[in-house]
């Protein structure tokens, strides 16, 4: 059976991939997906911690509870986020991050 460290390693890798995507990709949709990836990585960690943190022989449910919250919140975030991105596309005809630099200094 996989140990806690294995889960954490995978989770860390996922998180790093997500972060790398956010930093490197130019398309806002992709960036947004990478952000979701980071949240999933966090969720994985939470579940793993929860599984290995036993209370009275049972996994601690609190971590898993947060996972549900995170998923819910992420859904809301995506809904709002996509709406904004759509609005932006309507106004600017682009969703490339490079072209979003009118506010600076």
């Amino acid at each position: 059976m996989a140990s806690l460290n294995d889960y954490l390693l995978v989770s860390g890798l996922l998180f790093a991939i997500g972060l790398a995507g956010v930093v490197l990709r130019r398309n806002i949709i992709v960036v947004f997906m990478c952000l979701e990836l980071m949240l999933s990585a966090a969720n994985l960690s939470l579940v793993a911690f929860s599984r290995f943190n036993t209370v009275n022989g049972l996994p601690d449910y609190k971590g898993q509870m947060l996972v549900f919250f995170v998923i819910t919140v992420a859904a809301a975030e995506v809904a709002v986020g996509l709406a904004i991105i759509v609005a932006l596309y309507r106004a600017r005809q682009t969703i490339h991050t490079d072209e979003l630099a009118s506010l600076k200094g």
Partner: protein, 615 residues
Amino acid sequence: MTLAWILLFLPLVAAAANQLVLRKSPLVPLVSTASALATLVLSFLLLGKTTSPDPIHWASIGDFHINIGIRLDALSTGMMIVVTGIGTLVHLFSLAYMKEDEARNRYFTGLSLFMFSMTGIVLADNFIMTFIFWELVGLSSFLLIGHWYQKDSAADAAKKAFLCNRVGDFGFLIGILMLWGITGTLSFDAMKSGLASFGTENAAYFTQNSAAFSVILSTAVLCIFCGAVGKSAQLPLHVWLPDAMEGPTPVSALIHAATMVAAGVYMLFRVQLSLGADVFEGLFASNVIAWTGGITALVAALMATQQDDIKRVLAYSTLSQLGYMVMAVGLVHGEAGMFHLFTHAWFKALLFLGSGAVIYACHHEQDIWKMGGLLKKMPITGITFAIGTAALIAVPFVTSGFYSKEEILAAAFGKNKALFGIAVFVAFLTTFYMTRAFVVAFLGKPRSENADHAHEVGPLMFVPLVLLAGMAIGSAWLTGALSAIDPRANAHGHTEGHGIILGASIASLVLGLIAGFLFYKGKDKDPVSIPLFRNRFYVDGFYDRVLVRYFQDAFAAIIHFFDELLINGLLVGGLSRGAASLGGLFRKLQSGQLQGYAYAFGLGVILVIYFTVFL
């Protein structure tokens, strides 16, 4: 002793009344003159009194007091006679001399202010008070020299006088402070005991460092001497006195010949008396003072030989005579110096007022080469002037100047033969230039229209001249009443070398007379031209062009430049520019690029983790 207080404050009251109440009233000159006369009477009443009134605490902090107090002794009461006596006569003379001046009231107010200040110096019982009035005579001198302030030369001369005195006062104040540190007192009375206890308290130290006492005291005394150098116009601060002749002539007589310029000598002698003359014997400072006096006497006399302005001749003569007095103090024969001060005051005032009368008669012509033949046109003035000259050149046995100069020569002979030589030579020069001035101005025939139309001045002017002429002859005997001042009364005894001194004195007189007549009898212009002397050894030019313009002004401009550059530009500007450019750099980081932000964010996270977990 309320009389003494009245004596001190009466002139101030007169000045204040003139300035604040009477203002433009024609009474102003009379009020000033009356107050001068009253102070003369008071001075006579106080003559010989030695009990001083209680001082006023002027500034007190805890048990430390700066006092305004009056010290009555033979020295001060005697000096008061000179100050008020000449002051009164000058006031009288001025009534006529300044009759047509539109700023007459300002002039008389200034005179009263001067009388107050001078009285303060003479009567002061402590150093701070001396310094206070020392500055005030400087102010009144400034005001009176600059009386005709609209003339550039007068305004400049007033400024110069004030500044030269300030330079001297720089040292004076330091000296007062140091002496205060040494003796622990500012009062003249307590100074001797203060010095003694200073010696005993640090006896162990002084036995180890034998020279230390002398060095410490010399430093303080020399600093104080700086004050006298400024006020009595000794080298190298002598430059203001000839220029001060820009003031009205009675002022020159009173302030720049008889009284104020003598204050330096008076003060030095006061210090000598307070600390004890024996302390000064062998003090390094004494030598410096004596030599300064001697050299001033010589240099001034040399310069006097080539002046054309009658007042300037007298001014350099004053310098030279002051040099004598300072030399005497430096030779620790202060009483000889004071004696000369007393006699000199009368006859030099006489000469100045005489020249004033001449100038007045010649419609403000001051060049002796444009005068001539005045003895016939103004006999009273001419004769009194001749008497004054005789006193100055020390015609033996009949003039007061002879007796006092003799004392100085004797002092020099006893102490320092080199200075004796200089003094004798100066005596010769004195005779020479005074003969020159008298011959050119009063003898021969008139050389200008102004001189041709000159006629005798009115009684208000010649009465003071006559009185002064009397004093020029008799003051040596009158001074005998003041035993502390008259060195002849103190059995100092200089029998040794008496003949040599007398001989040298008479020889220099005769030679000077002969040379003077030989060179100048019947001449229309100066047959001798020595540019070095005429241009006053180029000292004035050096001060003006090098010290003031290049040293002070250029230095100030350089400092100003660096003030702008370094402090305003680099320090202040640099800091603000540094902050602004760092801000600009930060601002560039805020590039507006989302990716860049994410990148910065990521880096920041790494740093945060690093700081928290690993550091």
